[in-house]
């Protein structure tokens, strides 16, 4: 374990990370309410830019929660890889399969002669 940290107080860094997370959340809520036209109406990879911004900001927050609050930055790299790489790989794989399939089902519904929404 990180013995080096045991007697050093990290309070300053904790408050700094808190400020950072708060600012990011505020920006997210602000964007969510205003919905700027050029972000909301422009699509990139079949999702609008605003949603991409939200997702990136969320990952940014997640990084700070795991690295600073859960103190992943002080762990050995073997632990870091074992935990983070596993989750990221499996989640990306799952998302790829499910979302591509869902889009296909959507196309089928949309272009078929069967009317389902009436």
């Amino acid at each position: 374990m990180s013995h080096a940290h045991e007697h050093v107080s990290n309070t300053k860094r904790i408050w700094l990370v808190f400020a950072l997370l708060s600012v990011v959340t505020t920006v997210e809520v602000f964007l969510g309410i205003v919905r700027p036209e050029f972000l909301f109406m422009t699509n990139f990879l079949s999702m609008n830019l605003l949603n991409w911004v939200f997702i990136l900001l969320t990952l940014y927050k997640a990084y700070y929660i795991v690295w600073a609050f859960m103190h992943m930055e002080g762990e050995k790299s073997s632990l870091r890889w074992a935990v983070v790489a596993t989750v990221i790989f499996l989640v990306l794989y799952l998302l790829f399969i499910l979302l591509v399939e869902a889009d296909y089902v959507f196309e089928v519904f949309k272009n078929s002669t069967i009317k389902w929404n009436f």
Partner: protein, 343 residues
């Protein structure tokens, strides 16, 4: 409980558990692996939500229109403010948790206890807020009609503003009776609660108000095809908002009415797609359950801090382990917040 802090035990040999290849104690490592599996569970739920959403991408409820309430501000349209507040509360309780861990490293019993208490209070406020959010969601606001085809139609006036059912429904002297267990037959136990208005009352009210129009679940995309669509009311439809039908088309839709829906449950949902409500209840419910169990575990640790258990052990690693769990709950909320309320 000697095994909980193996770091202090350097006398053990390699095969006896003295070796820590990942530099973390047994307990901490297991907490990390539990978190990995729990993270994958939540990812599964959120990915399933994504699947349903992509499948019905043209019919998904717009979160801004669903979560609009703020305590003590009735009738004020306040999208997202409350959930943003909840997010802050949870992030703040994460901060007090990490402060407790920090104080634990310095063996300051009183500080650890104080920050732990704040964390517990934060968790309780969050769970309470969640319950309030559920209450509003279940109660609903405007009410809607479910058609025979199962789609949801809502009502707007000729400026596109939402209209509540109570604003136009006619009171017909019909005999509606809810069959309770004492009156009904044994096979009618599933009788659903009657809505405030019957379908006939809504239909009569709709006829009496010629300015009313129907808004469907479908989202208007402003494509060439959409603009040529004669069924849509000209001038009212906006890109990425729900489609508003002409009066003639609205009448056909209202004629197809099957039942009145107020609020949301696992079977019907006045905001639109039923799956939205199902996922909302399931995912936020599962997360809320995590917060609740987190509060219980934190409370047990809090008692142990007060009793001086960790002073005797000369290590506050237990606080660190529950801290990991608590931050994880916060981490999950960050994603739930994004995918339910923002995206």
């Amino acid at each position: 409980m000697g095994a909980t802090v193996t770091t202090a035990n350097k006398s053990e040999n390699t095969w006896g558990g003295g070796n820590e290849p990942m530099g973390a104690s047994y307990g901490k490592l297991m907490m990390w692996f539990f978190i990995v599996s729990d993270a994958l569970t939540f990812s599964g739920f959120l990915a399933a939500y994504g699947f349903s959403r992509f499948k019905f991408i043209d019919n998904w409820p717009i979160a801004d229109e669903v979560f609009t309430h703020f305590p003590f501000m009735h009738g004020v349209d306040a999208p997202m403010y409350y959930v943003a507040l909840m997010t802050f509360i949870l992030i703040f309780s994460s901060v007090t948790m990490v402060l407790a861990v920090d104080a634990g490293h310095q063996m300051k019993q009183k500080n650890v206890a104080f920050y732990m208490l704040l964390t517990i209070v934060g968790g309780l406020i969050f769970v309470g807020s969640q319950a309030w959010e559920w209450k509003n969601f279940i109660k609903g606001e405007f009410g809607a009609i479910e058609t025979k085809g199962g789609s949801i139609i809502q009502f707007v006036d000729n400026t596109g503003k939402r209209v509540k059912l109570e604003e136009f429904a006619v009171n017909l002297p019909d005999q509606k009776e809810e069959l309770t267990r004492s009156k009904g037959k044994w096979f009618m136990e599933d009788e659903e609660t009657l809505a405030t208005y019957s379908v006939a009352e809504i239909q009569a009210g709709f006829k009496a108000h010629p300015e009313l129009l129907v808004r469907t679940e479908k989202i208007y995309r402003d494509t060439e095809e959409d603009r040529k669509n004669k069924k849509l009311q000209p001038g009212l439809n906006e890109n990425k908002k729900r489609e508003i039908l002409t009066r003639a088309e609205s009448e056909i839709m209202v004629g197809n009415a099957h039942m009145v829906v107020e609020g949301a449950n696992l079977k019907h949902n006045e905001y639109g797609s039923k799956l939205f409500a199902d996922f909302f209840f399931f995912i936020t419910g599962f997360h809320g359950f995590h917060v609740f169990s987190g509060v219980v575990i934190n409370f047990i640790i809090f008692l142990n801090i007060l009793l001086g258990t960790y002073e005797k052990r000369r290590s506050y690693e237990m606080v660190e382990k529950v801290g990991l769990y608590w931050h994880f709950v916060d981490l999950v909320w960050v994603f739930v917040f994004t995918f339910f309320y923002l995206v």
